[in-house]
């Protein structure tokens, strides 16, 4: 049975960085079945209307990671996004290059910073010559140990997460979700001998810059869930090293505050995060807040029902490791 066609209005970002000139949006109209992937539509445009339309693509089956782009303002793989729902929701399809990476031409971006962040994670097994791999046979690893990688082996390095990440946008030193998910993959690998060193280093190399917005997990076409793995890295870093960094001290203090009183003691949290000298440095900021919200200077009471909070803590974390 022939499928009903939809009229797809596709507005594509066009720009050649070498040729200069202002970027523009070019409108293309095609008749296509609604399940057609955006990539197929763009290739139809190249074949039938404008062969100069430029994009990266290869496998068309969501395994090579080439065709990530902004589709109606979301970072997605063009090959895995059908046009029908996009048109139903937005009336048209706006195609733009990924964010957080400089433009080269049309939808092709410069991925240098993305790959450099990946390289900074030392993405390879680091082994100890004193503990060599078993001679002539595989390392033993149980299915339960393989489980520990979670979904990180599925990562196709498409950079959709990197494009969606507001922390990357705010601070170029943040490695981004993909690189951190890759780091997690090595930290949990029983063959890797640099777990402690990796956790120690990442604490000062951007781990705590993650905003926990989970936009990376939403953007990931392979369900790698980078934000959850970043959370795991934070927990492992605290468990291994305790509060060595502002980020980890903040997390520890936050958790303690809530456990003790059911609400934040913001003065104390500043002290816990930044120490006495750091807190003095933030006195001006504190004064400004105090003028608007004088109650922050009071020591907060234990909230009613604090026993319930305690029960939640016991339930989730019966033997606290990192915060004692």
């Amino acid at each position: 049975m022939p499928e009903k066609m939809v009229s797809a209005q596709i507005d594509v970002f066009r720009h050649d960085s070498a040729a200069g000139g202002a970027p523009r949006y070019q409108r293309f109209t095609l008749e296509l079945p609604p399940h057609t992937p955006v990539l197929t539509a763009l290739l139809r445009i190249r074949a039938e209307q404008d062969p100069s339309l430029t994009l990266r693509y290869s496998c068309r089956s969501a395994i090579c990671g080439s065709c990530a782009m902004q589709i109606n303002s979301k970072s997605r793989l063009a090959c895995q996004t059908p046009i029908g729902p996009e048109i139903a929701e937005h009336g048209r399809i706006v195609i733009e290059p990924m964010r957080n990476q400089g433009g080269v031409r049309d939808l092709v971006v410069d991925q240098t910073s993305f790959w450099e962040a990946y390289d900074r994670m030392r993405p390879h097994l680091i082994t100890d010559p004193l503990r060599p791999m078993p001679e002539g046979r595989e390392t033993s690893m149980t299915p339960a140990q393989v489980e520990q990688f979670r979904e990180t082996p599925r990562c196709i390095a498409c950079a959709a997460c990197y494009s969606a990440c507001p922390a990357v946008e705010a601070d170029a030193s943040f490695p981004g979700p993909m690189a951190l998910a890759k780091l997690y993959r090595f930290v949990v690998d029983p063959r890797d001998q640099a777990r402690q060193d990796r956790l120690l280093r990442i604490q000062t190399e951007g781990l705590w810059l993650c905003l926990r917005c989970h936009l990376c997990t939403e953007a990931c076409p392979k369900d790698v869930r980078p934000s959850e793995r970043i959370r795991d890295l934070k927990e492992m870093a605290i468990a291994a090293q305790g509060g060595t960094e502002r980020g980890s001290r903040h997390a520890i203090g936050f958790k303690q505050n809530i456990r003790e009183r059911g609400q934040l003691n913001e003065m104390k949290l500043v002290l816990q995060t930044d120490g006495i000298l750091g807190a003095v440095g933030q006195a001006g900021q504190g004064f400004k807040i105090w003028r608007k919200k004088p109650e922050i200077s009071k020591k907060p009471r234990r909230i009613e029902g604090i026993e319930e909070v305690e029960r939640i803590y016991e339930e989730l974390d019966p033997k606290p490791k990192g915060d004692r």
């Binding site: 070498a18 290869s58 595989e138």
Partner: protein
Amino acid sequence: MGAGLAGQRAALAAVEARRDVAIISKLHPLRSHSGAAQGGINAAVGKEDSVDTHIYDTVKGSDYLGDQDAIEFFCREAGPTVVEMEHYGTIFSRAEDGSLARRPFGGQGFPRTIYAADRTGLALLQALWERLGTEHFTLYQEWDLTNIVVREGRVQGIVAFDRRTGQFEGIAAKSVIVATGPAGRIYGRTTNAHTCTGDGVAAAYDAGALLKDLEFVQFHPTALLESGILITEGARGEGGILKNVLGERFMGKYAPHVLDLASRDVVSRAIVTEVREGRGFPGDFVHLELMHLGKERIETRLQEICDFCRNFAGVDPVVSPIPIFPAQHYMMGGVGTNIRGETNIAGLYAAGEAACVSIHGANRLGGNSLLETLVFGKQAGLAAAAHAASASAPELNDSDVADAEAPVRRMMSRTDGEDPQAIRTAMQQTMDRYVGIYRTEADLLEGLRQIRAIQKRFEQVRVVDRSNVYNLNLTDALETGHMLELAEVIVVGAFARTESRGAHSRVDYPSRDDAHWMRHTLARKTPEGPNLTYAPVGYTRWEPKERVY
């Protein structure tokens, strides 16, 4: 040239031999098509399995066109190769006892396919790139190859251009390794990525290399209907079954012993026969059923397949059958090499799907191609490194670059002429129609006539995009030219081979003819088209027998 598994493994071997190595690829290495391989990698490593059985299965699978000496070497290297990749960091699926998990694959007497869920290629590609990343080499990323320069009977280097600038450059080299993968996009209906266009194989052919057995084209039995996206043989390895419109498990008629796990050529022909005889579903397809395996097994062992079916075919394999039909999948042929990756040109090597050793002969077994990329990638890298250690300095001149650039400038300056994509589509339609699973003399003659007419059209190809930055219109043109050369070699070889063997099925010559045709086709480029000669098959101890599954 090429940064998939074969190219990377060759580079690693050459770097470890302390040579100055560059990798050139039109894709970032992690985007290579090796990453799309799903099912697994064969190695007879368990106590119950034996290397001899792996050898025998491969010889039989090849329909006795594989070189037995090469196959023996290949299968013996399998265990160490897989262990090495595990030590490099590959995350394989595991058995409860902590060893590497194995699944049964088609045409093999033992479950010896080691896997990483249904993304084994990706797992290997990641681990190898991570391992290679600890070494020093130069990466030319997103460069398009135009020529391999051969003078005085030996390689002098290559000419290529950087997509980012359009700048042509000569890269002098004592050794060049062709590891650019397949040319599946010669066909319209293919499991291959859009970038599988045989660039290195065509450049080697232009430079005088002999292409071996190109007429042997594997059609994978189970590809999604509309997109041609691959559904791994692992799906049948896990217990998936094929059914026709009558609900019959029809493989019983074609392969009574192993049913759905017969060799790929056998299963593909069975599906086409069912459809031709009216037992396909309306729209010409059959069903692959997984439902009986249960949700958990499907979603853990065949996770990517679930996503493919749900995203690209709108079916959920947990509750519905998957509509499938065969699609072009693999080229058994390629640049002819020996087991060291050496070609007929000094300094020129080939490995992986771009090469033909031959271990796959007339039909490749599932799980042998990933193994091939690693085993022979390493051999080619070692041989290339050894050659480079002793060869004198190569000579690449400005005129080599100018000669390579001139035809490109002509394409870009034409004011009329045809778009390369229209020409590519015409080629694909011809190959799908006339050079598919079942072949006849009349069809092949018509196919050849059409391919030559399309080559004529290509002489007037026009690149309308004049930009020097990431000019995909130009890439389209170069790739189409490469594929048209190889398409001609496929058709000419298929026309000449008047027998049926493995994936090459001549309706007019339905039997295998060992007396005349147990030999390799070698094609050399001449101005009149491919000149064919033949070479004997390497034989050790496996007497040709009728191939029954």
